[in-house]
């Protein structure tokens, strides 16, 4: 179990190797990346910032809770801060577990909890030169996730 908030490029492969274990039957990797379109606007990059000491503690708490809930110690999460370009990774979650359902469950738990409570913010840069803080609490109906679309 390890968490870090970092200012460098993330390395998903290294995290996958870090959670590997002969007692695991499944490993999962989740990589959040900067996406070109957000609510119909063309994104060119994102600034990630944090209330760093609290974000580090909340992230560590989330991962400790996931390890206890899903019964694994093989869980590593890194979140990157700073200005990221299109396609760059902002978060990597690596889990391995004896059973696939638990590996996938822990992965989902961690990303949902991170998005709910870790004090990190993103300001999107748009192709028209404007910038805006993303506020998920006023997410438009275009958010298919919220609408339960698979």
């Amino acid at each position: 179990m390890r968490t870090a908030i970092v200012d460098r490029v993330l390395d998903p492969t290294a995290l996958l190797a870090e959670v590997a274990s002969p007692d695991s039957g499944a490993s999962t990797l989740f990589v959040g990346t900067v996406r070109r379109l957000h609510e119909g606007r063309e994104v060119t990059g994102i600034d990630y910032s944090a209330y760093r000491p609290m974000a580090e503690r909340e992230l560590a708490d989330v991962v400790a809770e996931a390890c206890e809930r899903y019964g694994t110690a093989h869980l590593v999460v890194e979140h990157r801060l700073g200005t990221l370009g299109l396609g760059e990774a902002s978060i990597v979650i690596a889990v391995s577990h004896a059973r696939r359902a638990s590996a996938m469950g822990a992965q989902k738990f961690v990303i949902e909890q991170v998005k709910a409570r870790v004090p990190i913010w993103k300001r999107e840069h748009y192709a028209d030169g404007s910038r805006e803080w993303v506020d998920p609490t006023r997410a438009a109906v275009s958010d298919a996730d919220a609408a339960g679309i698979p």
Binding site: G32, Y48, Y51, H79, K115, V118, W121, W133, P136, R138
Partner: protein, 78 residues
């Protein structure tokens, strides 16, 4: 008492990343929020959470001069 408040994201853009508020000695989190709302005026800022000493706090959580108070706009990590 003088309470220092850390602000982030849109709230930092509007009011700066650090403010000192003058509050009554028995102030609670809700008083911090009300005072900040008055300063922000009609800026249309999103409703924030408040952290006291790096833990999410409730509106009735008391605040002290030595506390680290932080205004947490809706988070968007991941």
């Amino acid at each position: 008492m003088a309470v220092t408040v850390l602000l982030f994201a849109s709230w930092a853009d509007a009011l700066g990343s650090r403010l000192t508020l003058d509050l009554p000695p028995d102030a609670r989190v809700r008083d911090v929020l009300r005072t900040l709302d008055e300063r922000a005026g009609g800026a249309g800022l999103p409703t924030p959470m408040v952290a006291v000493n790096q833990r999410y706090a409730r509106p009735d959580t008391p605040v002290r001069e030595s506390d680290e108070i932080a205004i947490i706009p809706p988070v968007a990590g991941g």
